[in-house]
Amino acid sequence: MGDESVPSLLDQGTTKTYQIPIGHLDYKFIEKCTDVKHLEKILRVLRSGEEGCYPDLTLFCEKRIEHLDPGSRALRKDKPAATASDFTAEEWETINGELMSWMTEMREDDHKPQFLGTDTLLEGQDNLPPIRCSSSCLPANQNEKLQNKQRYKKNIPRDYSEWDKFDVEKECSKIDEGGEENNSKSRFFNRPSLPLIEKKIDTTGMTKKEKVFIATREKEKGNEAFASGDYMEAVTYYTRSISVLPTAAAYNNKAQAEIKLQDWDSALQDCEKVLDMEPNNVKALMRRATVNNQLKNYETAIEDLNKVLCIEPENAVAKKNLLETEKKLKGLKPVSKTEGKGKRILIEEIEDSEGSEERGENAEECGRSSGDKGRRQAAGPAAMGSAQRKAQGAKAEGREQRRDPAGTADPKGTAEEGAQRPEQQGEADGYSNGEGARGSPAEQQPPGAHGDGSTSLPPAAAELKREGNELFKGGQFGEAVLRYSEAIEHVVGLGEQIPDDLSILYSNRAACYLKEGNCSDCIQDCNRALELQAFSLKPLLRRAMAYESMERYRQAYVDYKTVLQIDSSIQAANDSVNRITKTLIDQDGSSWREKLPPIPVVPVAAQQHRWDGGNFTSEVKPSNTTDTNGEEQLQMNREKAEEEFKTLKNEGNDFVKNGKYEEAVNKYSECMKLNDKECTIYTNRALCYLKLYKYEEAKQDCDHVLQIEDSNIKAFYRRALAYKGLQNYQASVDDLNKVLLIDPNILEAKNELEQVTQLLNLGSSAVTGSLQKQRKKITIQEVTESDEQEEGQFAASEDVVTDDDTSKEEVQKSTPLKTSEKLTISEPSNAYDFGQIINVVNANKDKVACADLLTITDPKKLPVLLSNKLEVETFLIFIQSLEYYVLGKDPSLVYQHLFYLSKAERFKVVLGLLSKNEKEQVQQLFDLLAENQNHQYSSEDLESLKKVYEL
């Protein structure tokens, strides 16, 4: 129709209103025209019908305008209100249903006397500000000039009748032309600085309904502020909402705003609050994953993401994030591994490094495998439930010590997480006393920690025992049992009378059984061990745990009590006793004590700690219980030593007060010769070392204390300071967190934590190094621990035989040497052995041993043996040993070592971390090497190697 009419209109010139050539009212013209304004005019002409009615052309023109400018005003049409026909039946139902339920709710409210009727105008609002000063009169027109200038238009208000004649279009176009000048005429008054918005709302006297009402509104304000990009304001309003009524939604939104502000810690806290209220809140899980991702806690992030995928298998964002996080985790594997481990170790103290390393890997793998599962689920959501179950099964299978799935369901924050792990692990292992795993220093030791040094075992048995210890450390308890059994057979077969060692073997095997959950065998072994060596701490403790898990509480109680008689400081035993007491009271009523088997009385000689009296007790092992003479002598010695100890300690304290730290250290060291179990001496000496900037020594003292008393707050704090001094900030943070966990009110720790966290954030590149360091140092603790065990035994016998003329310091000095000598006998076969030796070497700065080690080690293997464990400390001791001990014997070996050292992983990193001084050491070695020129390497080789070393 339009098509035909257009040509005939061509000659008629232009349209009436806009003077558009009639020819423009044409499909072809409209199709090609890109001038929206022109098209709008055409549309108006067409709609007005003044040139005839062309519905198709009008529609076509509308479509064309929509194509060019979807927001064009010309397209707006008057429309009637929507009716039921505009909705699907379902939608209509929902709309009406919602309204109905709202009306019902409102009516119910009306009938309840929720609002107290009061007659006074404003009752209960006494906290209102005073009435505004009534004399305030404000002239509305302050600037006459401006006013007059603006009054160029007619400004007499229009009569209502006049409005009908008002031509809107004309007025509009006028405004369009001069629209922007308005603002320039605005007046300005200085804006006062913004006062803060109250973070809390006074809710006194409000009904629940009112609170809900206000909390919702504050939350909405937060949402709006968030939408406008003002995240600070959003957080404020969410906080206000929470102050009225804490809701998951408000916390959740607050977390999101805090994520935008990069306030990770607060965001984490808020996410956790949401998850406390709603454990399956997908948003909170996603947000916590984001936060953890930012905090580099990739494993935790992955857990959360997996959980999200468990709830919503189709969640594309979660899938994407999961992939990314996994990638990051993979990329940073060494780092995250050590990080995770570092944390865990701190709490586990001496759970051996290898085991937890493996755990880290396993956790990772499991994470990934369940991630894979998650993805597979997405492909086939029908299989979702079972797939997830499988994934969890896989996790559990993956490793015995894996955290139990229940634990996964409710992961805690990073700081707590470390603390949680051993507990959960303990549960998974079949102990019922989770804290036991953490609290008792004796139990945490690898079974082989003592006895390594005692050479009374026949070599074959010793070897078997060593292997057993290794396996135990590696978590292969079944294998370890076999080794120990062999060793026991061997010893028994020889018919030798070495009850101490045999007892240890039984005790170790008991530990394996306990780990495996084989309680009855564990008890048997403990019995044997105790037959051989009465009142030995570890077998007693293990038997107690085994009894407890078998729910033979009375026996467990007796054993724990016995343990406490020997060493009252074992927290795990204390806890367990309390717990069992409760159980027994429940079970047997008030007369529970009568049903107990008799508790054996532990001879004084077997008692180790008595904190209450502050008495000095020697660390005598009950090896000589039969020797009454020895006991008497011991008693005398003890009394004498006790007095001496007290005087020395007081002298030391006085020196500290006067700031003479060196002298104090000496006094304390003497004290330790008398009694190395008194924690305060160690913490005091650690303080002195800190003052003397001897951080390594301070750390060692603290480590020692923490092995004895795992919640010694002073030791944690001082170790944190020592770590800070050693620039191991991560470890320092961990320790400080531990301090605050024990007592959150310690201000110094808080301040320190802030400082250290800042330092930590400063050098993120250095973090890798320090983490590495931390990891390794912990392993040293293990070694020193075993030393001290031996030492204890040595000292004990010496105490008896001689009169304190053998100083323990000497023993301490000689032991590492002995260890390293022993270790260097065999060439390290794998990276783990090598690492162990290096740890010892590093701990003692034993260059001789290091030189020996390097001499027997094939340089070519160095990169493999070092794997990714190379760090500054190791590097330096290598350089020093090579320089002092190897260079003189075999310069070419030095060259070879240097050459292969440069091929090791992390070499570049270490190089980058060297200080100027340290670089000079390397330079010196190269200079010496050049002097001792040898046919095996040319000066060119040396030069090029020097370049590799960036000299």
Partner: protein, 360 residues
């Protein structure tokens, strides 16, 4: 057909229509209830207050109160949630506060203005806005007065033209910026296009501008936040959105304007549950639902280093035409998101449901 309803667009449904026998000037939801009030002028020149309750698809008249003078406007803004006293302004220039349970005598009454009170607003009640409850009235006598119900007879603040100055008809007033006990502003719009922003804390005129045509309605997007946006509608069918966060020393507040209704925009009301959505009502019986979109950066530095605001944009979410007569009053339910009442000069009150506001 751009306005064709996409599935996710909000729809405006006329839920209930109720014909009235008098001229309706203002309608208001009673907070925490499904009841609404209609205020107007009966044919014989008296004031009418009708209380309706929304019940299954109809409005039931609960109460009708007749007063001596036609009532132009009302607010619950200064009333507590417990009491819900209504403050009204009438043709005689009186401000009254009524207890609707006992409406015979006002609980507060003052002859505040010489002529009709065109507009009224309240703050500090209903939990909206920190600080004291206050009522502001704007009148044809050219004054804007702030009242504290605790103080009889005299206003606590009076904004009037200086002596000798011709008096402008104040058409609209609104409170804003009441986010602390001290902060509070009043915005007033006049028949000559003036918009004035009075700071009650410093008792000064903080800002003024002129939008050339009579200002029919002003409203802050929220009264109880650090003032964020202000919408002002005008006689000639245009409205301006000012970003009130950043005030430039010379240029004032940045704004964006939009032409809508081909007639006077009588009212603007922000959705109480989302300050970035607002509805305008037009002289031709139409309602437009808008959304304000923030720019990427809300402020920038000018060449001299002074902060200046950047205006965002507005987009039309929906428009409907309900009547041929102007829609003079509009009120969102504070309790039910999307529920809305509007009164038109065709002597009809309509309850509307706006759907899908969550998805905007």
């Amino acid at each position: 057909m751009a306005a064709a309803a996409g599935p996710e667009r909000p729809q405006v449904v006329a839920h209930v229509q109720q014909a009235l026998s008098y001229t309706l000037f203002d309608c208001k939801w009673v907070p925490r209830s499904a009841r609404l009030l209609c205020l107007g002028s009966a044919a014989r020149g008296t004031g009418v207050v009708q209380l309706y309750e929304l019940r299954a698809g109809r409005l039931e008249l609960l109460r009708e109160i007749e007063k001596a003078k036609p009532i132009k406007c009302g607010t619950f803004g200064a009333a507590s949630l417990q009491q819900r006293y209504l403050a009204t302004g009438d043709f005689g220039g009186s401000l009254n506060v009524w207890n609707l349970e006992a409406p015979e005598i006002p609980v507060y009454s003052v002859k505040g203005h010489k002529e009709i009170i065109n507009s009224i607003d309240g703050v500090g009640g209903l939990g909206i806005g920190e600080g004291a409850p206050e009522i502001v009235t704007g009148s044809r006598d050219g004054t804007v007065k702030v009242w504290d119900p605790r103080q009889k007879d005299t206003p606590v603040a009076n904004m009037e033209p200086v002596q000798g100055e011709s008096k402008r008809d104040c058409w609209t007033v609104a409170f804003g910026n009441a986010y602390t006990q001290e902060e509070r502003v009043v915005c007033a719009g006049y028949d000559n296009g003036d918009i004035k922003l009075f700071d009650l804390k410093t008792m000064s005129l903080r800002w003024e501008t002129n939008i050339k045509n009579g200002v029919c309605s002003v409203e802050f997007d929220r009264k109880d936040v650090n003032m964020n946006k202000l919408v002002a509608t005008s006689l000639e069918g245009k409205f301006h959105v000012f970003d009130m966060r950043t005030q430039h020393p010379t240029k004032g507040f940045a704004s964006v304007s939009e032409k809508a209704h081909k007639s006077t925009i009588w009212q603007v009301r922000h959705l109480p549950q989302n300050r970035d959505i607002f509805m305008t009502s037009g002289g031709a019986g139409s309602l437009h639902l808008w959304k304000y979109e923030y720019p990427a950066q809300r402020s920038k530095k000018d060449s001299e280093g002074a902060e200046m605001g950047v205006a965002g944009s507005v987009s039309l979410l929906q428009n409907v035409t309900l009547s041929t007569q102007p829609i003079s009053s509009l009120d969102w339910s504070p309790d039910k998101k999307g529920l809305c009442v509007c009164g038109a000069f065709d002597q009809t009150v309509r309850v509307l449901i706006v759907t899908k506001l969550n998805k905007v």
